[in-house]
Protein backbone atom coordinates (compact mmCIF):
# COMPACT_ATOMS: atom_id res chain seq x y z
CA UNK A 1 0.00 0.00 0.00
CA UNK A 2 1.39 3.35 -0.99
CA UNK A 3 1.80 5.77 1.87
CA UNK A 4 2.46 9.45 1.42
CA UNK A 5 3.59 11.27 4.52
CA UNK A 6 4.05 14.96 4.87
CA UNK A 7 5.78 16.71 7.70
CA UNK A 8 5.25 18.80 9.49
CA UNK A 9 1.45 18.74 9.37
CA UNK A 10 1.27 22.16 10.98
CA UNK A 11 3.82 24.90 10.63
CA UNK A 12 3.82 28.38 12.07
CA UNK A 13 6.65 30.52 10.83
CA UNK A 14 7.67 34.12 11.04
CA UNK A 15 7.76 36.38 8.05
CA UNK A 16 11.19 36.51 6.47
CA UNK A 17 12.23 33.06 7.64
CA UNK A 18 13.05 29.99 5.55
CA UNK A 19 11.59 26.56 6.00
CA UNK A 20 11.14 23.22 4.25
CA UNK A 21 8.14 20.94 4.01
CA UNK A 22 8.85 17.28 3.39
CA UNK A 23 6.90 14.68 1.45
CA UNK A 24 7.98 11.05 1.83
CA UNK A 25 6.41 8.18 -0.04
CA UNK A 26 6.73 4.48 0.38
CA UNK A 27 7.05 3.04 -3.11
CA UNK A 28 8.76 3.73 -6.40
CA UNK A 29 7.50 6.79 -8.19
CA UNK A 30 9.04 9.33 -10.53
CA UNK A 31 6.16 11.76 -10.71
CA UNK A 32 5.07 14.04 -7.91
CA UNK A 33 2.70 16.97 -7.67
CA UNK A 34 2.38 19.86 -5.25
CA UNK A 35 -0.89 21.66 -4.66
CA UNK A 36 -1.86 24.70 -2.64
CA UNK A 37 -5.17 25.24 -0.86
CA UNK A 38 -6.08 28.62 0.57
CA UNK A 39 -8.42 28.58 3.58
CA UNK A 40 -11.97 27.80 2.49
CA UNK A 41 -10.91 27.41 -1.13
CA UNK A 42 -10.15 24.63 -3.57
CA UNK A 43 -6.82 23.09 -4.51
CA UNK A 44 -4.60 24.64 -7.15
CA UNK A 45 -1.68 22.99 -8.88
CA UNK A 46 1.70 24.42 -7.93
CA UNK A 47 4.38 22.16 -9.33
CA UNK A 48 4.75 18.98 -11.33
CA UNK A 49 8.01 17.10 -10.84
CA UNK A 50 8.53 14.46 -13.48
CA UNK A 51 11.95 12.93 -12.88
CA UNK A 52 14.68 12.36 -10.35
CA UNK A 53 16.47 15.60 -9.58
CA UNK A 54 13.69 17.77 -10.96
CA UNK A 55 13.53 21.23 -9.46
CA UNK A 56 10.83 23.79 -10.00
CA UNK A 57 10.65 27.31 -8.62
CA UNK A 58 8.02 29.97 -8.50
CA UNK A 59 8.53 33.06 -6.44
CA UNK A 60 9.47 32.12 -2.89
CA UNK A 61 8.63 28.44 -3.38
CA UNK A 62 10.98 25.81 -4.71
CA UNK A 63 10.16 22.12 -5.07
CA UNK A 64 12.54 19.26 -5.70
CA UNK A 65 12.30 15.51 -6.17
CA UNK A 66 14.71 12.77 -5.14
CA UNK A 67 13.22 9.51 -6.38
CA UNK A 68 15.98 7.38 -4.88
CA UNK A 69 15.25 8.72 -1.42
CA UNK A 70 11.50 8.75 -2.20
CA UNK A 71 11.42 12.33 -1.01
CA UNK A 72 10.20 15.66 -2.27
CA UNK A 73 10.79 18.97 -0.56
CA UNK A 74 8.98 22.27 -0.80
CA UNK A 75 11.29 25.04 0.33
CA UNK A 76 9.97 28.40 1.39
CA UNK A 77 12.31 31.36 1.19
CA UNK A 78 11.72 34.55 3.16
CA UNK A 79 8.12 33.72 3.97
CA UNK A 80 5.39 36.28 3.55
CA UNK A 81 1.84 36.23 4.88
CA UNK A 82 0.40 35.47 1.44
CA UNK A 83 2.01 32.04 1.56
CA UNK A 84 -0.28 31.01 4.41
CA UNK A 85 -2.16 27.99 3.03
CA UNK A 86 -2.27 24.21 3.16
CA UNK A 87 0.19 22.46 0.87
CA UNK A 88 -0.42 18.95 -0.42
CA UNK A 89 1.87 16.60 -2.24
CA UNK A 90 0.45 13.85 -4.43
CA UNK A 91 2.31 10.85 -5.82
CA UNK A 92 1.85 8.85 -8.97
CA UNK A 93 2.43 5.11 -8.60
CA UNK A 94 4.52 3.77 -11.46
CA UNK A 95 5.09 1.63 -13.44
CA UNK A 96 1.56 0.26 -13.11
CA UNK A 97 0.09 3.51 -14.35
CA UNK A 98 -3.44 2.44 -13.59
CA UNK A 99 -4.08 3.91 -10.16
CA UNK A 100 -4.97 7.46 -9.18
CA UNK A 101 -2.65 9.88 -7.46
CA UNK A 102 -2.30 9.42 -3.71
CA UNK A 103 -2.37 12.62 -1.66
CA UNK A 104 -0.57 13.39 1.56
CA UNK A 105 -2.55 14.81 4.47
CA UNK A 106 -1.30 18.30 3.82
CA UNK A 107 0.89 20.78 5.67
CA UNK A 108 -0.98 23.73 7.09
CA UNK A 109 1.34 26.74 6.95
CA UNK A 110 0.70 29.92 8.87
CA UNK A 111 3.05 32.85 8.32
CA UNK A 112 2.94 35.39 11.10
CA UNK A 113 4.43 38.85 11.42
Amino acid sequence: ELKVEQNPLFLSMQEGKNYTIYCNYSTTSDRLYWYRQDPGKSLESLFVLLSNGAVKQEGRLMASLDTKARLSTLHITAAVHDLSATYFCAVDITPSGNTPLVFGKGTRLSVIA
Binding site: Y33, K41, L43, S45, F88, G97, T99, P100, L101, F103
Partner: protein
Protein backbone atom coordinates in the same frame (compact mmCIF):
# COMPACT_ATOMS: atom_id res chain seq x y z
CA UNK B 1 -17.24 29.60 -18.64
CA UNK B 2 -14.76 26.83 -19.14
CA UNK B 3 -13.63 24.87 -16.13
CA UNK B 4 -15.02 22.61 -13.50
CA UNK B 5 -18.05 23.48 -11.46
CA UNK B 6 -19.86 21.89 -8.55
CA UNK B 7 -23.37 22.31 -7.27
CA UNK B 8 -24.71 22.98 -4.80
CA UNK B 9 -21.89 24.81 -3.04
CA UNK B 10 -23.54 24.35 0.35
CA UNK B 11 -26.05 21.76 1.45
CA UNK B 12 -27.72 20.93 4.72
CA UNK B 13 -29.65 17.69 4.92
CA UNK B 14 -30.94 15.23 7.46
CA UNK B 15 -29.84 11.73 8.29
CA UNK B 16 -31.39 9.19 5.99
CA UNK B 17 -32.08 11.53 3.10
CA UNK B 18 -30.70 11.04 -0.37
CA UNK B 19 -28.40 13.76 -1.61
CA UNK B 20 -26.81 14.23 -5.01
CA UNK B 21 -23.80 16.43 -5.58
CA UNK B 22 -23.17 17.54 -9.14
CA UNK B 23 -19.91 18.01 -10.98
CA UNK B 24 -19.52 19.40 -14.49
CA UNK B 25 -16.36 20.02 -16.51
CA UNK B 26 -15.94 21.67 -19.88
CA UNK B 27 -12.43 20.48 -20.79
CA UNK B 28 -13.51 17.08 -22.14
CA UNK B 29 -11.17 15.46 -19.64
CA UNK B 30 -11.42 11.69 -19.62
CA UNK B 31 -10.91 11.26 -15.89
CA UNK B 32 -13.05 12.61 -13.10
CA UNK B 33 -12.69 12.13 -9.37
CA UNK B 34 -14.60 12.65 -6.16
CA UNK B 35 -12.78 13.37 -2.90
CA UNK B 36 -13.85 14.20 0.57
CA UNK B 37 -11.78 16.42 2.81
CA UNK B 38 -11.91 16.12 6.57
CA UNK B 39 -9.67 17.54 9.26
CA UNK B 40 -6.94 15.09 10.10
CA UNK B 41 -7.54 12.95 7.01
CA UNK B 42 -6.52 15.20 4.17
CA UNK B 43 -8.08 14.27 0.84
CA UNK B 44 -9.58 10.83 0.45
CA UNK B 45 -10.67 9.44 -2.88
CA UNK B 46 -14.26 8.20 -3.00
CA UNK B 47 -14.72 7.19 -6.64
CA UNK B 48 -13.20 7.96 -9.98
CA UNK B 49 -14.13 7.49 -13.58
CA UNK B 50 -12.03 6.89 -16.67
CA UNK B 51 -14.78 7.64 -19.18
CA UNK B 52 -18.52 7.55 -19.59
CA UNK B 53 -19.93 4.41 -18.00
CA UNK B 54 -16.57 3.45 -16.45
CA UNK B 55 -16.22 4.02 -12.73
CA UNK B 56 -14.02 2.59 -10.01
CA UNK B 57 -13.86 2.68 -6.24
CA UNK B 58 -11.40 4.74 -4.33
CA UNK B 59 -10.34 4.59 -0.70
CA UNK B 60 -13.72 5.35 0.93
CA UNK B 61 -16.59 4.34 -1.41
CA UNK B 62 -19.07 2.95 1.15
CA UNK B 63 -22.33 4.89 1.29
CA UNK B 64 -21.76 6.60 -2.04
CA UNK B 65 -22.93 5.91 -5.58
CA UNK B 66 -21.66 7.48 -8.78
CA UNK B 67 -22.65 7.45 -12.40
CA UNK B 68 -21.23 8.91 -15.55
CA UNK B 69 -23.57 8.84 -18.50
CA UNK B 70 -21.85 11.83 -20.16
CA UNK B 71 -18.16 12.67 -20.23
CA UNK B 72 -18.71 16.13 -18.75
CA UNK B 73 -20.83 15.13 -15.73
CA UNK B 74 -19.99 13.03 -12.72
CA UNK B 75 -22.68 13.14 -10.02
CA UNK B 76 -22.09 11.72 -6.55
CA UNK B 77 -25.09 10.39 -4.61
CA UNK B 78 -25.34 9.70 -0.93
CA UNK B 79 -28.16 7.18 -0.89
CA UNK B 80 -28.96 7.54 2.81
CA UNK B 81 -26.92 10.32 4.35
CA UNK B 82 -25.23 9.79 7.71
CA UNK B 83 -23.62 12.32 10.03
CA UNK B 84 -20.21 10.84 9.28
CA UNK B 85 -20.65 12.04 5.71
CA UNK B 86 -20.56 15.65 6.83
CA UNK B 87 -17.56 16.92 4.91
CA UNK B 88 -16.28 19.08 2.10
CA UNK B 89 -16.52 17.28 -1.22
CA UNK B 90 -14.25 18.10 -4.14
CA UNK B 91 -14.62 17.02 -7.71
CA UNK B 92 -11.56 16.99 -9.96
CA UNK B 93 -10.72 16.11 -13.55
CA UNK B 94 -7.67 15.32 -15.65
CA UNK B 95 -6.80 14.17 -19.16
CA UNK B 96 -4.90 11.13 -17.97
CA UNK B 97 -4.97 9.19 -14.72
CA UNK B 98 -1.46 10.19 -13.65
CA UNK B 99 -1.59 13.85 -14.49
CA UNK B 100 -2.33 17.14 -12.82
CA UNK B 101 -5.87 17.16 -11.54
CA UNK B 102 -7.98 20.31 -11.69
CA UNK B 103 -10.30 20.78 -8.79
CA UNK B 104 -13.76 22.22 -8.54
CA UNK B 105 -14.69 24.78 -5.86
CA UNK B 106 -16.08 22.17 -3.48
CA UNK B 107 -19.42 21.43 -1.83
CA UNK B 108 -19.79 21.81 1.92
CA UNK B 109 -22.27 19.21 3.15
CA UNK B 110 -23.73 19.14 6.63
CA UNK B 111 -25.78 16.12 7.67
CA UNK B 112 -27.89 16.73 10.77
Amino acid sequence: DAGITQSPRYKITETGRQVTLMCHQTWSHSYMFWYRQDLGHGLRLIYYSAAADITDKGEVPDGYVVSRSKTENFPLTLESATRSQTSVYFCASSHYLQETQYFGPGTRLLVL
